[in-house]
Symmetry: D2
């Protein structure tokens, strides 16, 4: 294969543009040869032309049928992900798909089966694995220097409320927000989740309860390797994107605090002020988005395993479904209830 | 009343000696006039004489029948606490009692009833409320400046394993260790616990499972005010006494990290080293032990409410029992199941 | 003017390549149309082609005589900077020049005069002003919220020794290394230096003294506004690029610590380990290099003042000469001794 | 010798009461048998009686002639220190003397000579050596693990201005305030100061310049072992007692930041707030005052060397005089100019 991966991008909304920009500017092994977006408009075209991309259309099929394209980035609306994966696979393209693949486990399995049948790679966009902080926790645990993991902790809070119009169709906090944390605990523990128990509450007065949803949640987890875990979530920290992880092991603990805007400390008679955490995922995970794209192109160029594969696309959805069921039924739910 | 509270101490073991030393050296409003310890020996006598205490015996009754004594510190073995409270109350003495009052709720209620009938004060030794860090979290939450509490988090890990001989009779992690954290979440949330769900595991290989006990636990909690909480415990951090608390509220978050041995940072080619958390409760809560004794004597001298009262002695035991039941039965347990 | 600044780059060594990469990948308002490097070789050509740059030569004149080019980046060896500025100015090109312009004050003045005569902009590459940390200190001081500055402190230590071959021709620590800190104290204090007193020592055993140079230095400074300052330097921290600044003002203090590789803390029985500062200027000031280039192109496009101008190119060299004189003569030296 | 050191205290002002309280409550090996204070009044008597001290007078001679007394704490006004040391020595008492012994070097030498002639111990109250933070820096440097010291840095700022009535007779910032830092750099470097160069300025508008004094100072130092040092001072930090030390060595750096009131972090939309440094020396060095007294009594009981001896009493005064001379004459001053 050549030294560049030729990429077609499906979807040029917020996350699609993020990937397109990164691929063009920061991933030397990538070349964006075409973009398809059913909502293509003048604004999108100006954006693409500004990056030197001249091949665009409203029709995904233009990507699939382009023989020059090696790989596809699926950045469409979530409900189209699984179908796009299947069609890309059938066209012989490798696939990078934003999370989640689908909210229906069977649809996920079908999409995965299509990539396996076609022999193409499938990477799922759990971007936090590529963050320098969480990766450090993972690497220390995986190195074994602290012994077996006992407690896996994730604190994950968005900076501010989403519009209720978004919440209405979001699928609920566990599928929409905690899903990243479910991926994170699998990544950090190096083990599969076997059971969850979820508490949730709508405390903000924003109206999450109108949609059967919550703004605050805590989820306990059990892992195959015996470790226990806990995730706490809030839809609105107000102070920034609070993303802390910690693993307490047999011989000690590794934990990471947040990246801050800067390292300043201002001391006066009134008090001492330090800087806030970076505001949201664009600020916090900017380098991680670049890194996941680099790793994807590397895996294609060297025909090695992708860092976040098919099972990583399936399991967090299953865990989210178990958490939602646990919350609704007020009891612990085993993953086996969901997966079988 | 005079400007000193005259105190008799029951029990001169580790915790008794700690209180005696503090009362003598650091609590100006206290005067230790007598000590009774059934295991009184030459070593104890030397300790007491070194502090200028010349009135000691093996007989608690010597304390109760001493008309000079205003108040009693109950520092005996746990199973005698409730009886000592009752006898002290019947003798008209105010009582400071180490935690827990008893592991049987009815015995606790009887002890409390005795103090109420006698009109004497009862303070329970949940010392962490007097720690400058946890108190700061409490005070910020109680001030209302952050709005209502949403998430209450306690991380509480002992530095090292206790001998299995201790574990055998400890009553289990929830009653022995987490009980302090159950008090803490009530203190920080300003609300009562209504339900708990506990996960536990024996992961250290030290043999906790032989006694039906665990070395690692996570407990989720619901509060009357709607907030959710979580506690994580380990019997052995290895790096020191890990005691962190955090409350995420409607408008922001307050959290405290550990006190460290010192503020040093050593930077070399090999890495950057900071100092460890203070090792255990004697180091971490030394000032807090002094403060709780000062507050107790102040409450007596000015006839004001004690800062940690009868209900504070009862509820953590009830929560611990609910947690133990949850762990054993694999389901959330409401406090109403325990209290009625 | 168009919405892109067309740029020619002089010099494609380490710093030249850094600027070329940033201009191509991260500065949307810049277009690198040509590069000239007298040492142009196959490796350089491959680098340029990889970035899509096809116009390159060994001859600076090719840049100056190219009518398409709006602005020039001077990234040649230091001794050619002043001449390149003059020739660029005479060709009517705006100039971005790496620091220092020259080690001879008259040569600097001549270069500046050429740009003034030609009416072109001159920006000098004091990149640290664009670092998020130092900029925060500057902004807080400049806002006036802390009152007038009293103490300006800069700690600046390189991670490791340079080869002695480099030291031999470096011009000495004050001109080679501290020059950045002399710019920083002017930037942070908002005032001009009037006097310096320098201590230096060769303590590492690496042989700096063979060249009349030192590896360790402290420089005190006085400012026109009455503030005092101090810089401490080491050629080898061993733990990374130690770049801390602090300004103590009439009402309080603002200080910044180092960016670290990540926010991890690893706690074990042996101790607590945090991550090291980023290793050197490429890691620490990567975003700052991008920002200074963006600000340069913005100043051209909108015909506004450059953020680091001609006087900023002259004064740090004068201060460095005063410091060197102070070190050699063992006495404080006024800037007026150097500038007149 | 017995297992208690019998102590007479001269002076029961602020610092005298501090020592008396510590000796009574926190130094088991000490027994305060008498106190003499020429300004003895009812308030002082009430204070002493509250601590169980019944032997007091206005006459220092009552202390010197008391055969029961082993050692004397000199807590009088500074100008009487040297004479009190001499008289105590002639009476055969060991001496703990608050700093400085005197502002005249010959008077210091005479006082020291008297203790040497009498064969009694003399400890000087440079209390910061007993602070857990600074001691850690010292111990790491002294251990040799970081190699030879290159840079010794002390930041020392009082929280707030003293009354001008105090400044008028204080002897100036170098003798009054920086003297502690001159002790600190000797302690941390393990070497003697050979030269200083001082900058100072009156920037606060409080009127220090009316008394020829300054509120802001920076002092560079050279040490016998080749290391360089720098101290920065402010009379008013406004945010607390800023006491940071740092030693950069051949293989790395050890530094300490301030103790804070607590470990809280409060995060809201408006910003992130941490707690202030402890306010002043009573809060910051409380444990250090106790430790220096313990070490003094230990040295007497075991007839070992005191931790801060005669030379430690002399040298900081000499350095302060050199710094004052440097400030006045605008040039570096060698210690040999002062000491000979």
């Amino acid at each position: 294969m050549a030294n560049k991966v030729k990429i077609g991008v499906l979807g040029a909304g917020r996350i699609g543009r993020l990937h397109i920009t990164n691929l063009v500017q920061s991933v030397p092994a990538a070349e964006v040869v075409a973009v398809a977006d059913p909502f293509l408009n003048d604004d999108t075209i100006a954006f693409l032309q500004g990056l030197g991309i001249v091949n665009y259309s409203k029709e995904p099929q233009d990507i699939f049928s382009n023989p020059e394209i090696d790989a596809v980035f699926v950045c469409t609306s979530t409900d189209a992900h699984a179908e796009m994966i299947r069609r890309a696979a059938e066209a012989g393209k490798h696939v990078f798909c934003e999370k989640p693949i689908h909210t229906d486990l069977d649809k996920i399995r079908e999409a995965i089966a299509a990539t396996e049948k076609a022999g193409v790679k499938l990477q799922v966009g759990f971007v936090r694995r590529f963050d320098h902080n969480h990766k450090k926790v993972h690497d220390v645990v995986a190195s074994g220097r602290l012994g077996a993991p006992h407690l896996v902790k994730v604190c994950s809070r968005d900076p501010d409320h989403q519009p209720m119009s978004y919440i209405e169709t979001s699928g609920g906090i566990f599928l929409d927000m905690t899903i990243h944390d479910f991926d994170m605990v699998r990544y950090l523990s190096g083990s599969e989740v076997t059971e969850v128990c979820a508490y949730g509450a709508a405390l903000s007065g924003e109206g999450y309860d109108k949609y059967g949803d919550v703004d605050t949640a805590i989820i306990m987890l059990k892992f195959e390797n015996g470790a226990l875990g806990v995730i706490d979530n809030s839809r609105a920290s107000h102070y920034g994107y609070d993303q802390r992880t910690e693993v307490h092991c047999d011989k000690g603990c590794v934990q990471v605090s947040n990246d801050l805007d800067d390292q300043a400390m201002i001391s006066t008679r009134e008090g001492v002020e330090i800087s806030k955490p970076t505001w949201f995922f664009l600020e916090r995970y900017n380098n991680a988005f670049i890194q996941e794209a680099k790793d994807f192109t590397d895996a294609i160029l060297h025909d090695t395993a992708v860092p976040v594969g098919a099972k990583d696309g399936l399991m967090p959805v299953a865990i989210a479904k178990a958490a939602a069921k646990s919350f609704q039924e007020g009891r612990p739910v085993k993953l086996s209830e969901i997966l079988n």
